[in-house]
């Protein structure tokens, strides 16, 4: 085996590191330094399969690819001695190998990796690795064909803003190019604030140069000399790798004065977001870069005319920029052959929630929801029924499983009341209470309202009060029409995207899960058994062994009993925290929610 050259890649993006990938990498480094093996150890970014991190890829001379999942430092020895030295893959750790599992073949076959082309492939901390993978060829092409041809190429590709709104990228660039002014800016919006979304983080951590190159091309097309990357401070690794990449790009003459001898000057600065969701809105983001409170302002004038420091500015999202070099390099046609008539190319999604194979996936636009959830995601992780998906975070909608045949593109999702969003895709099973989900998103959005518009500031508060009433079993039928009217009013009475979209989770759940709202109101019943005021915990005397563990973990002393005899919970004292049920080793504690009518027919309330 000694004549074969192995490449070992360890995925070191944030979620890999959180799962312990750094220790795995260190163990490989340590053992390989002692072994006489023909092997290269490479740090790489996100391989996309977050559900089985830490991930290690072993390939032979760049051909056969073996992926190991859930690897611990203790497994390193086996991978080295069995696979590298012995030529025999370690079967029980494999998650992917050629011909191993048709399900996994489908997982990869369904995906098209354009924006994620380099993620989990190259070393994000080394520009040479990016250059070897064709890096900065898109910029070279752009400098050859000139700014106007660049904009034409992007127009032909059909690329639209991947931040969620789907505004045509070429048009934004063209308007900024045409705007009068000597000083112009490009900004990269990396303020990925949607809870449940991590596409931008993964791209920045795994392939930072692609974003820098995309910004360079945009700046060249627009005539901007300076760019800002506005990145969440909550993403320290992304910021670290970006800084490293900017330094390397400067050293290699891709940033700075007279780039690659073209006469084009461009410099880049990182600004750390300070934690305000509203700064994902472009005018608020501009305020924040200017060092002020991130309050959105009225448009027009649009940033393309009057943006950062009053100068024409084009703002695009991380994923949009990551696509740009690939379009320039491969040609618009190679990109636009994917997708639907009006939504071209691919979209990256962060698949999370109750799905088996959660992680980062990139799909051609137009793929159906069911294909994403089942063929790629592997279906529901809990084995329960698929209930809904949620896209677009606090601005998006909940789509019921019955609409799983809907193609994922800007228009189709818009028609059913949802949005594409930036790419968070949450999968929910039957244990998810849709009223609770609506309340969750509204609570989030209310907290992030900047307070400027009355409808957003007060309307969100009032809507939340109604949801609180409903989830505590005190709602009335009038509440449903009230919250719907209020939702419509907040949408039309708010100035920026935050307020205009904040009612979406409420309105879509009202539309598709009306019976669930009704059950909370009419029956004081939470079918998913999530709303605290409507559930109670009970110990089943047949299953209880009387071990006393539940009484020990209970923080409020609600559980009593004698050892070796069934324990009981005092519902008056119980705070429904769920500690006991989680601790019970005999699965003897049930969560119960009973419709009022059922209680009445029982004759006794327990």
């Amino acid at each position: 085996m000694a004549d074969r050259r192995f490449t070992i890649k360890v995925g070191l993006a944030s979620c890999g590191i959180a799962a312990g990938a750094q220790q795995v990498y260190d163990e490989f480094a340590n053992q390989l330094s002692k072994a006489e093996l023909n092997a290269d150890l490479i740090l790489t970014g996100c391989l996309g399969m977050c559900y089985c991190e830490p991930l290690v890829e072993v390939s032979t001379d760049g051909h056969e690819r073996y992926l190991y999942g859930n690897v611990g430092p203790g497994d390193v020895d086996r991978i080295i001695s069995q696979h590298l030295a012995g030529g025999e893959p370690v079967r029980d750790l494999l998650v992917y190998a050629p011909g191993l599992d048709p399900e996994m073949d489908l997982y990869f076959a369904k995906q098209v990796r354009i924006a994620l082309k380099n993620c989990g492939v190259i070393n994000p901390e080394d520009i040479a690795s990016y250059l070897k993978a064709g890096g900065y060829q898109g910029l070279r092409k752009a400098l050859e064909i000139g700014p106007e041809a660049v904009i034409e190429e992007i127009k032909a590709s059909g690329l639209r803003g991947r931040g969620g709104a789907g505004f045509p990228t070429w048009l934004k660039w063209s308007l900024t190019r045409q705007a009068s002014g000597d000083v112009k800016y490009v900004i990269c919006n990396a303020d990925e604030g949607d809870p449940g979304a991590f596409m931008d983080r993964s791209i920045l951590e795994s392939d930072p140069h692609s974003v820098i190159e995309g910004m360079l091309i945009a700046a060249y097309a627009i005539g901007a000399g300076k760019g800002y990357i506005y990145c969440r401070a909550e993403y320290p690794l992304a910021i670290k790798r970006l800084r490293l990449a900017i330094g390397q790009a400067e050293a290699c003459g891709f940033l700075g004065g007279n780039i690659q001898g073209s006469g084009f000057d461009f410099s880049l600065e990182i600004r750390e977001g300070a934690g305000a969701f509203v700064c994902g809105e472009e005018t608020a983001l501009i305020m924040s870069v200017e060092g002020k409170r991130g309050m959105p302002r009225f448009r027009p004038p649009y940033p393309s005319e009057k943006g950062l420091f009053g100068a024409p500015t084009s703002i695009n999202n991380v994923e949009t920029y990551a696509n740009v070099p690939r379009i320039l390099q491969g040609g618009a046609e190679a990109y636009s052959k994917y997708g639907t008539e009006k939504s071209k190319g691919t979209k990256v999604f962060a698949l999370a929630g109750k799905v088996k194979r959660g992680g980062l996936v990139e799909i051609p636009m137009g793929m159906t929801i069911d294909e994403i959830v089942f063929d790629i995601g592997g279906g529901i992780s809990t084995g329960k029924a698929f209930k809904a998906i949620q896209t677009g975070g606090p601005s998006g909608g909940c789509i019921p499983a019955s609409l799983g045949g809907t193609p994922v593109d800007y228009e189709s999702l818009g028609r059913i009341g949802a949005i594409m969003g930036s790419g968070g895709l949450l999968v929910m099973d039957e244990d998810t209470c849709m009223v609770d989900v609506a309340k969750y998103f509204l609570t989030f959005a209310r907290g992030e309202s900047c307070g400027k518009c009355t409808f957003c500031r007060v309307g969100s508060e009032k809507m939340l009060e109604i949801l609180e009433r409903i989830t505590s079993g005190k709602g009335t039928s009038e509440d449903l029409s009230l919250i719907k009217n209020l939702g419509e009013a907040v949408k039309s009475g708010s100035m920026c995207g935050l307020g205009q979209t904040m009612p979406n989770p409420v309105l879509t759940t009202l539309q598709y899960f009306a019976e669930e709202y009704q059950a909370h109101i009419d029956e004081a019943y939470c079918p998913a058994r999530q709303c605290k005021a409507l559930i109670s915990y009970h110990i089943d005397p047949d299953r209880c062994r009387g071990c006393g563990l539940c009484a020990k973990v209970c923080a409020v002393g609600a559980i009593s009993g004698e050892l070796r005899k069934p324990y009981t919970i005092d519902s008056e004292v119980c705070v429904r925290c769920g500690l006991c049920a989680a601790a019970c080793r005999f699965d003897a504690i049930d969560v119960v929610s009973r419709p009022k009518s059922a209680e009445a027919s029982l004759g006794v309330a327990q």
Binding site: S14, P195, G196, T432, Y440
Partner: protein, 162 residues
């Protein structure tokens, strides 16, 4: 709380460093928090004096963005993710377990100064949900039980150290 001469010196250095940056208020305040741990009203006065940015504007920034804290942080900083995936996976139970076992409420510090609890929007590790950051290190697949145990360990660990 009065401002010490070390703090005053650090703030002067930071302001000088960003002298030529446009829109520097946020980076200045961020670096003050990085170095000194928090941004007190006294620090704000000092920055206002050095930069001629009105203290009211700086105070507006500090209270607008969630990143800034006006008070020092406890010995252990626990950030409980309450993103959507974590919410679905039971983040509320984790929050309650931490609150009951540390004596601190989310957004505040316990009386003994040992714990500061914060609820954060999303840490981007959704496949490991529910997720908690303890002093910068991320712990995945949390449960209420694990949370209680972690809090116990952190309490015990610190008192042994004294």
């Amino acid at each position: 709380m009065r401002i010490t001469s070390e703090q005053s010196y650090a703030i002067e250095q930071i302001v000088n460093k960003y002298r030529n940056l446009s829109g520097a208020a946020i980076p200045i305040l961020q670096e003050i928090q990085n170095q000194l741990g928090y941004v007190s009203p006294q620090f704000i006065e000092k920055v206002a004096e050095l930069t001629e940015i009105p203290a009211s504007e700086l105070y507006g920034i500090v209270t607008f963005y969630t990143q800034f804290r006006l008070e020092p942080i406890g010995e252990n900083h626990i950030q409980i993710c309450h993103g959507t995936a974590c919410h679905l996976a039971g983040a509320n139970a984790v929050i309650e377990a931490f609150e009951s076992s540390t004596g601190a409420k989310c957004g505040s510090t316990s009386k003994d100064g040992k714990f500061t609890l914060d609820k954060v929007a999303c840490m981007g590790c959704c496949s490991l949900a529910p997720v908690v950051g303890v002093n910068g290190k991320i712990h995945g697949r949390m449960t209420a039980e694990k949370a209680q145990k972690l809090a116990r360990e952190l309490k015990g660990g610190d008192s042994r150290g004294r």
